[in-house]
Symmetry: C2
Subunit: 261 residues, 2 copies
């Protein structure tokens, strides 16, 4: 008469948020190209991206967002606002968010001196890029030298996609992931409204999985992809077996993965 | 000895936020394609996009984000989560955010009945798409009939880009914009670190404008685009004249607009 204790191990969950900083994304001038890259890369190392925000180059807004996100998630990754011009206010804003002094990092000065070909080319503006919150750890920039930095659980990356992505690739070995979220996708040329009821019941039976339904229109045909996500491969496979049966019972043919483009 | 009162008219500022709802964006499965479209379209009608967020399909998270954003901005546009499957929880979440009942809208039922070819094809799942918070106004969906809706200052759009964009195009005539943010872009094959000081001084002289600096690497050359944004064309043009002079003085040639790709 007592409820059975669940024997399934609790997954180890590690979370993250991405904070995109830049007026140019909000005005529509620039299409963000980093969020999807970071989402995929974080998923691969067992970190769950739980939220993303885009905010303008306004100090108070950046401070509020950083402080909210760093309290809520294990990791925060910011992109943008670390160049040499007056609108690059990320480093100063993050120092204020942490209540830390913004200091000149001598290793960053060395990196910039080499990048620009000697101290005589280190304009005051370029030296801005050597300023980090006191105690920050530099993040390598293999593209153009000017480093990002880490302070606490906040990782500050460049906005230029090539640089942002190279910085992330270089630092990801330092991140501690949890159990990886695996996924299995099954598609079918079937209306979502036809399969929805059975799909909902499948979700109820597999409450440890997240089952998403994403309609598509390809090669002149409507259909949907069903993405099952969870930490246990065996559970995903069991759900996929049931889902293929459901699809066949409804008169369609299951397709493993996404449909041909 | 008294400070002169500013004679510049205060711009009429109307603000918005975009809330992207969907696990698939955060897992990296799907690249968001609506934010940039909405950013550009809102700018064109004089509405300033001040923030964007991406949140997962979790009711409490959606409710918290909607309530925070609708209190802070004039308009909120949500995308995603209004289909017929169990993971489509946007309408119910927004009803809860407003403390309203979720009701079946008979005009939406009519639209869906026609779309699916008769009441016998209206599965329970498809009828989910006819549910809106009590008092909501439907938003037309010219692609696949299932409507979005407006409640208060929150506009609920589909996630599928073609549908999201068609919904927005249809409703935008109902939005009240403020003064439009105009922009002038000047580019140059010049290092940001070389021009940064003069650019900062230019920003100080034109504090009514937002001047952004965006580095690029095109056709084998580094350079930067300088985007000046503000509500008064004359001020933008005056700043552009000064900026072109600055660029020439530093030995480069100003390029109007973005550099050739």
């Amino acid at each position: 008469m007592t409820a059975a204790l669940s024997t399934a191990p609790q997954p180890r969950i590690v979370t993250a948020a991405v904070l995109v900083i830049g007026n140019e994304i909000l005005s529509g001038r620039t299409k963000d190209a980093n969020l999807n890259y970071l989402a995929i890369a974080l998923t691969e190392i067992g970190i769950r991206l739980m939220e993303a925000r885009v905010v303008p180059d306004i100090e108070a807004t950046i401070i509020a967002a950083v402080n909210e996100l760093r309290a809520r998630y294990d990791y925060v990754f910011t992109t943008g606002g670390i160049g040499p011009t007056h609108d690059d206010i990320t480093a100063a804003s993050i120092a204020k968010a942490f209540g830390l002094k913004l200091i000149r990092d001598e290793r960053a000065v060395d990196l910039l001196t080499r990048q620009y070909g000697g101290p005589e080319h280190l304009t005051e503006a370029r030296l801005r890029m050597a300023h980090v919150p006191e105690g920050a750890v530099l993040i390598d920039n293999p593209v153009s030298a000017a480093p990002g930095f880490q302070i606490g659980n906040v990782y500050v990356l460049a906005g230029v996609p090539r640089i942002c992505q190279a910085m992330f690739d270089g630092l990801k070995g330092r991140l501690q992931g949890g159990d990886k979220v695996l996924s299995v996708t099954v598609s079918a040329h079937i209306g979502e409204g036809v399969i929805a009821k059975d799909l909902g019941l499948l979700q109820d039976r597999y409450s440890d999985l997240d089952i998403g339904s994403y309609p598509y229109f390809r090669q002149g045909r409507y259909g949907a992809s069903f993405v099952m996500r969870g930490t246990q491969q065996a559970r995903l496979e069991a759900a996929a077996v049931e889902l293929r049966d459901i699809i066949r019972r409804l008169g369609a043919e299951p397709i493993d993965g996404e449909p041909a483009a």
